[in-house]
């Protein structure tokens, strides 16, 4: 049984690619995740990753996200807040949804 993860990509009206991940991201499927982000990233590198449906994210997933950190916009839930904050990713990227009170704030 591999780690459950569904990845889908769509573009916003302004053309910004949005990768939506649902499931868990760990070292067993970090490669798939990495490939999906690389494929989706715009020419200027801009990328939105929606992690609202992710129940588990560990350092393997973080490593993938870090490679895009400079142009990344992340949508997550308070569940992932400790991992994103501790790793420093939250400071390097544009974050949405970490705070429970603004959890409903979405760019979709």
């Amino acid at each position: 049984m591999t780690t459950p993860l569904t990845l889908s990509t769509h573009r916003r009206p302004d053309g910004t690619p949005v990768v939506t991940a649902v499931g868990e991201i760990d070292m067993s499927n970090a490669g798939v995740f990495r490939d999906a982000l690389i494929r989706a990233a715009a020419a200027d590198g801009r990328l939105v990753v929606d992690l609202t449906g992710v129940e588990y994210l560990d350092s393997a997933g973080l490593t993938v996200l870090f490679t895009h950190a400079a142009h990344l916009e992340l949508i997550a839930t308070p569940l992932l807040a400790p991992v994103l904050t501790i790793s420093g990713l939250a400071e390097m990227t544009t974050m949405h949804g970490l705070d429970a009170s603004t959890g409903g704030d979405s760019l979709q």
Partner: protein, 1400 residues
């Protein structure tokens, strides 16, 4: 509350769905005296609501008739009186209305509340008159207008507590009797007397003791005393005493009323209906010693608690009786041994004294007869000479025996003075010359001058030389005897060699043995006691010397005596300065007389002695001992005091022919000499240095002992005045120089004869006093001792030369070192001074320092001459009796100590501590050879091991093994440093061997030099060690039985490997053999649930363990059959009924679902399980409870269910964990709960250990304990291959487990990530280093903490994030998410340990 009838007033007024609420709602109030509740005053309505909603028993009494309202909680109190709703109070509580009625009316009248605590209310609510106690308050209930209309009562039933405390007090009362009884019967009386004080609980008791060797019993005691109820004529009989005695099983009687018309009721209104007849077990393994009948009060049913109380009473009674029997047995043994010992001591010391008195009375008149004999009667003279010689011989034997008994008792009075040993020995040897030469032997004496003086006691040295010479002559028939004395190897060495018959080699070892005579040796005489050489060895030993013998059979024997120079090796108290010339004493007489008689022409008169020795013998007189024997006659003794040597020599020559003359040079020496032994006449010059003649006379006259000695003064001063002065001073005669020899001799003869006439009686008195067995003393009015006898000197070591002895006497114990003894003597002295007659016992210190106990009796007398008050008294040495008393105490103490020991090492340690205490020695060692490589050592001091001991000590202790057990070695003699025993290593220490269950045990005591270790001490040591040996065997046996039972118990106890989350303990009780019937079992059921059983069978030991095994197996089988807890116990009821001894076992049976935490359980009379909740509360599992097994066969058992919340701990146990004497079990349960909570952060194994430790009573568990502990959820343990695909499933498992731990969502996520990182690291490593290796994840929760451990088989570095920013997030994440992370790389793999504090 959410019912649709909410609006109905009845539901608001009578809320709840309890029985009483329903009854009240249904009650037809409108038809009753109280009317429609709608019209009730608000206070009554409120009171009813409070009453119904409370869980405490409450009553409302209302109106004139005090009608009765009560709640559900009150139901059990009411018993069969229920239902009683709205009845008048008096109709409900008729039987106690006389007590509570007035109280209620007073509240109604005054409006003031009352409070009653523990009030006795005899009730009849269960069909019998019951003793109940209550604490309650009556508070007034007011009408709406303020008048008192009713009473509100909150009640608590304190019966259990009051009665529990009373029973406890009774048990304490019994316990306090320990050690008081001296016989079984006395113990029975003590017990029944104590039970008489507990009549409320035991209205009647009787103890029957087994008639030894039969199954019959005799009534030993009863309570009330002298009251023996007679069995009813048509009843089922009396007490089943014989049956219980034979079976050893208790019987409970419920037909007591039918058996006996009337029994004492213990103050209750009805006679006892129930009773127990219990066996009184003997000591471990022994026969039942008797039976105790204990009637139960009719005021209480004989329930479990009551029965166990009666069981405890029986146990206590048995313990007291057994202790008394053991005491008696020990006492008897101690008495027998002490008696033997006393007899021996008495024989040795008495026989000699007893011989001395008749001897004195033979020898005295004999001397008289010899002097008065008509010169011509030769035949009569010869016969008298025979009597005289044999008298002397007998005296010598008696004295030798006396010497021995003194040495034996450590009381040999030595006076070591520096002696020029060569001439002294030569003189002694010369005494034998004539006899030896007459025997046709050649005799050589070579005494070379020694470099320095040797310290010897003259009298003892004489005995040494004379005995050896006499021995040589006895066994030598031709050849030579030689005496050589000289210095050799720094010691004075005396050799006495003969060419006699010699001694066979196999007899050599016994040569010096007392009373040993070499069989069929050819000798000159068959006489002899076999004591001479033994005495010689002891005497030489006292001098710190040695004696050896070399012999060749047929060629001769050489004895070699070696003495050290100087006096440092001798006890300082006994060393004296040189005194007097080195003269041979009269002690030689009997020796020479004896050997002469062995020779062919025997019968030689004393005159046959060589002139030199003969003359010397006449120039002095013997010591008091012998003077007493030889009597006052023979040549009169004259003491001559003159400072002019020429004059002294002249006078001596003049007098020598007719008198025994002692000449001294000054008055003081003369005075001392007279005091030691008064002569027949003192001739003194008036003018002398120091004490002159007149002063000497005055001094002699002032002392009653010497007042009668006649004194003839010589003076150069002529004239009447001088003569008058002399005579006034008390002189008997006065002679002016120059005088003629004839005049002097005439005056001397006249004075001696006159004095002899005058002193005849006085001399007899002195001789008789001296021959008294008891020590005699005479005190003047100031308390100064002015006269003593020889026995006094023997006893205390102080001789007549020191007279007078003034208070405080020299033998008075010193105030600074022995204040108590000093005070005792002071009191005794006061008595002596104040009373006209009396007696006392007091301690005294012998001159050589050893402790004596004397019994004195005294009488006041008046001196007929002066009219002064004098005190005459006798002393008896009761040291032996005194120590015998102490010995009994020592034996009793040792017996008690050993009876309490529960292991061999404990018994041994206790025993050596006791020995150390008893003898106040520095250290006692116990060395056991148990077959292991080296002996084990136990010490009273610092710990010691065999290799630590000095080699010489090891040798000496090892040497003990060669001697028979229980015969003490060493420690003989005085124990003083100069003692012979000390030189060859016998003193300073005493050793003894005891048979040990595993081999041989040697005990070694380092003695204190100041304290002699006498023959009595040795006897006591042997006796104590005999006890010890027996006790060791007994304890060892019990130990073995206990080990067997314990092994059995452990073997049939629960599974070796417990399911996760569980811990279990079994601890046997600490007293011997107290393995009990407790057990636990944890069964993994086919459906994954866990069956948990904790049980307790009645009784202890192997029997109980066997029953336990059967119950445990049955219970396990039932659980595996898919039974529920209640079904299991119901089936167990039937099973237990079939097994003897299984009835009344208590069992807790539960089935736990580890996923949900649901526990369904049922309890057969078992103490409640404890649930320690994570919020700090404790809950008891008290539901689903019913009787112990098989007590009520056929009952349907119920079960209860409880969810064990996350991180809560469940503790199941047997009563041994929580039950303590004199304490409620609730206290113990509360303590156990607290102990569980204290371990909130401990893993379950550690927690189990902590609980067992925390609950251990001071002396260890008195009952055995089984314990099962579970913390929910059980720890998680997952093992998976090192592949990344495994991570998600492992996470899922962990997530499920975490959900059982009741944690916040965030905490769960943190743990998941941290654990995930650790697992990912391990997987990465597994891939790199050892693909396919296993990774283990372990997670465990306590109340306060979560702990995760991830173990892999690889080795990875902690800091490896150097290459790039990204892959290194794992460990920082772990550290950030968890409170504590440790990563331990090891050779076999890496372990990550993470902990997180759980916050509520």
């Amino acid at each position: 509350m959410s019912s649709p009838e909410r609006a109905e007033p009845a539901d608001v007024l009578f809320p709840g769905d309890g029985e009483m609420a329903r009854r009240m709602r249904a009650y037809p109030w409108r038809q009753s005296a109280l009317g429609d509740p709608a019209g009730w005053p608000a206070s009554l309505r409120t009171a009813c609501r409070i009453c119904l909603t409370s869980r405490f028993p409450m009553i409302v009494w209302w109106g004139e008739q005090l009608r009765f309202f009560y709640n559900d909680a009150y139901l059990p109190l009411l018993g069969t009186k229920h239902p009683a709703l709205a009845k008048p109070g008096e109709a409900v509580w008729t039987e106690i209305w006389d007590i509570i009625g007035p109280m209620l009316t007073s509240v109604m009248a005054s409006g003031e509340a009352t409070w009653s605590e523990d009030l006795l209310l005899p009730m009849n609510r269960h069909g019998y008159w019951e003793e109940t106690y209550w604490t309650y308050s009556y508070s007034p209930l007011h009408d709406d207008d303020g008048t008192v209309r009713g009473v509100f009562t909150a009640v608590s039933d304190t019966t259990e507590r009051v009665i529990g405390e009373r029973r406890l007090a009774a048990l304490q009362d019994l316990g306090a009797l320990a050690g008081r009884a001296r016989s079984a019967t006395e113990a029975c009386h003590l017990v029944t007397r104590a039970l008489g004080r507990a009549a409320a609980d035991i209205p009647f008791a009787a103890i029957y003791l087994r008639r030894p060797g039969t199954d019959e019993t005799i009534l030993a005691a009863s309570s009330p005393p002298e009251e023996m109820p007679v069995p009813a004529v048509s009843g089922p009989g009396g007490w089943p005493v014989t049956g219980v005695l034979r079976s050893g099983q208790p019987a409970t009687l419920s037909d007591v009323a039918a058996r006996f018309a009337a029994l004492p009721a213990g103050g209750w209104q009805t006679s006892p209906a129930q009773a127990m007849v219990l066996p009184l077990p003997g000591e471990t393994g022994g026969q039942t010693v008797g039976v105790i009948v204990l009637a139960a009060s009719a005021g209480r049913t004989l329930d479990d608690a009551y029965a166990s109380f009666l069981g405890l009473v029986a146990q206590q009674a048995a313990a007291l009786i057994n202790a008394a029997v053991a005491y008696q047995f020990q006492q008897r043994r101690a008495e027998e041994l002490a008696e033997l010992d006393r007899a021996k001591t008495a024989f040795f010391s008495n026989i000699s004294h007893e011989f001395r008195t008749p001897l004195t009375l033979i020898m005295g008149p004999l001397e008289e007869l010899r002097t008065r004999l008509v010169p011509g009667d030769q035949a009569a003279r010869q016969e008298l000479d025979v009597i005289h010689r044999n008298g002397l011989r007998l005296g010598k034997l008696v004295n030798t025996l006396l010497d021995f008994s003194r040495i034996e008792a450590g009381r040999m009075q030595a006076r070591y003075e520096p002696v020029d040993l060569a001439p002294f020995t030569a003189d002694l040897a010369s005494v034998f010359r004539s006899a030896i030469e007459r025997a046709g032997l050649s005799y050589e004496v070579h005494c070379t001058v020694l470099p320095e003086p040797v310290y010897v006691d003259r009298e003892m040295w004489e005995k040494v030389v004379l005995n050896l010479l006499s021995n040589a002559l006895k066994f030598t028939f031709d050849g030579a005897i030689s005496v050589t004395l000289g210095e050799q190897n720094g010691q004075a060495t005396l050799r006495i060699a003969d060419t006699g018959i010699g001694v066979a080699a196999d007899e050599m070892p016994r040569l010096f043995e007392r009373f040993h005579r070499i069989p069929s040796a050819r000798s000159r005489s068959n006489e002899g006691s076999g004591i001479g050489l033994a005495l010689v060895r002891e005497l030489v030993g006292l001098h710190g010397g040695t004696i050896t013998a070399d012999s060749t059979e047929g060629a001769g024997t050489t004895f070699t005596v070696r003495l050290p120079f100087g006096g440092d090796h001798l006890p300082a108290a006994n060393v004296a300065p040189a005194a007097g010339p080195d003269l041979v004493s009269a002690a030689a007489d009997p020796f020479v007389e004896e050997v002469l008689r062995w020779l062919p022409d025997g019968e030689a008169p004393l005159e046959a002695l060589p002139p030199a020795a003969g003359a010397r013998l006449r120039e002095t007189w013997g010591p008091p001992g012998l003077a007493g024997l030889t009597g006052p006659t023979g040549p009169a003794r004259v003491l001559l005091a003159d400072d002019n040597a020429d004059m002294r020599e002249y006078l001596r020559r003049l007098l020598r022919a007719s008198y025994q003359v002692t000449a001294v040079a000054d008055g003081l020496t003369a005075l001392d000499a007279v005091r030691v032994s008064p002569p027949d006449l003192v001739i003194s010059d008036v003018m002398m240095p120091g004490l002159d003649g007149l002063a000497l006379v005055a001094a002699l006259r002032s002392d009653p002992r010497t007042a009668d000695v006649p004194v003839l003064l010589l003076s150069a001063r002529a004239g009447e005045e001088a003569a008058i002065e002399g005579l006034e001073a008390g002189a008997d005669d006065y002679l002016v120089k120059p005088f003629s020899a004839a005049e002097l001799l005439a005056r001397v003869r006249a004075n001696v004869e006159l004095a002899r006439l005058r002193n005849h009686h006085a001399r007899w008195r002195a001789a008789l006093i001296d021959s008294l067995h008891e020590a005699f003393f005479l005190c003047d009015e100031a308390g100064a001792v002015v006269e003593i006898n020889a026995a006094f000197t023997d006893m205390l070591g102080y001789g007549p030369e020191g007279l007078p002895y003034r208070a405080e006497y020299a033998w008075w114990p010193a105030e600074d070192t022995e204040p108590e003894a000093h005070r005792q003597v002071g009191d005794a002295f006061g008595q002596l001074m104040r009373q006209s007659k009396g007696s006392f016992v007091a301690p005294a210190t012998h001159k050589d320092g050893h402790r004596l106990w004397v019994a004195a009796s005294f009488n006041e007398v008046r001196d007929p001459d002066t009219g002064r008050r004098m005190v005459v008294g006798t002393l008896r040495d009761i040291t032996a009796e005194h120590y015998a008393g102490q010995r009994e105490a020592a034996l009793a103490a040792m017996g008690l100590l050993l009876s309490q020991a529960s292991s061999v090492p404990q018994a041994l340690q206790g025993a050596i501590n006791e020995l150390q205490r008893l003898w106040q020695v520095r250290r006692v060692l116990a060395v056991t050879w148990d077959g292991s490589e080296q002996p084990s050592v136990m010490s009273t001091g610092a710990e010691a091991s065999w290799p630590d001991l000095p080699a010489p000590l090891r040798e000496r202790i090892s040497a003990l093994r060669r001697q028979p057990p229980l015969s003490p070695d060493g420690g003989s003699g005085t124990g003083a440093p100069g003692d012979a025993a000390a030189r060859d290593g016998r003193t300073g220490a005493v050793g003894i061997t005891v048979e040990h269950p595993r081999g041989l045990l040697a005990l070694w005591m380092d003695l204190d030099a100041a304290r002699p270790f006498s023959a009595e001490d040795r006897a006591l040591l042997a006796l104590l060690c005999g006890y010890l040996g027996q006790a060791l065997h007994r304890v060892h046996q019990t130990d073995q039985q206990r080990e067997t039972a314990l092994a059995l118990q452990r073997a049939i106890l629960g599974p070796a490997r417990l399911p996760d989350g569980f811990a279990a303990r079994y601890e046997p009780a600490n007293r011997p053999l107290e393995v009990g019937g407790d057990w636990y079992d944890i069964v993994e059921l086919p459906d994954g649930r866990i069956g948990i059983v904790v049980g307790d069978c009645v009784g202890h030991g192997l029997d109980a363990a066997t029953v336990m095994g059967q119950l445990r197996s049955a219970c396990r089988a039932l659980l595996l059959q898919d039974s529920s807890a209640a079904q299991t116990l119901t089936a167990m009821d039937r099973f237990a009924a079939l097994i003897p001894g299984a009835i009344c076992s208590t069992v807790f049976c539960g089935i736990l679902d580890r996923e949900t935490g649901r526990l369904t359980y049922s309890s057969a009379g078992h103490p409640p399980g404890i649930l320690a909740l994570p919020d700090g509360r404790t809950e008891l599992l008290e539901d689903g409870r019913s009787f112990p097994l098989a007590v009520q066969p056929g009952i349907e058992r119920t079960e209860a269910s409880r969810i064990v919340p996350a991180r809560a701990a469940l503790l199941l146990y047997t009563d041994g964990l929580v039950e303590r004497r004199r304490r409620s079990m609730d206290t113990g349960i509360a303590e156990a709960g607290a102990a569980v909570h204290r371990g909130d952060s401990a893993a379950v194994e550690d927690l189990a250990t902590a609980i067992m430790t925390a609950m251990t009573p001071d002396g260890g568990y008195e009952d055995d304990v089984a314990l099962v502990l579970y913390r929910h959820p059980a720890p998680l343990e997952v093992t998976f291959p090192a592949e990344s695909a495994q991570l998600a499933p492992v996470r899922a498992t962990l997530r499920t487990w975490l959900s059982r731990c009741d944690l916040s969502q965030k905490m769960v996520q943190d743990v998941l990530v941290a654990a995930g990182e650790a697992c990912a690291n391990a997987v990465e490593h597994g891939h790199r280093n050892a693909p396919g290796e296993q990774i283990q994840l372990r997670a465990a929760a306590t109340v306060t903490q979560l702990r995760l451990t991830i173990t892999d088989t690889g080795r990875w570095k902690v800091a490896r994030s150097a290459n790039g920013t990204n892959r290194g997030h794992g460990i920082p994440l772990m550290r950030a998410l968890m409170q504590q992370v440790t990563i331990e790389p090891g050779d076999a793999g890496t372990t990550v340990d993470m902990q997180l504090r759980i916050t509520p």
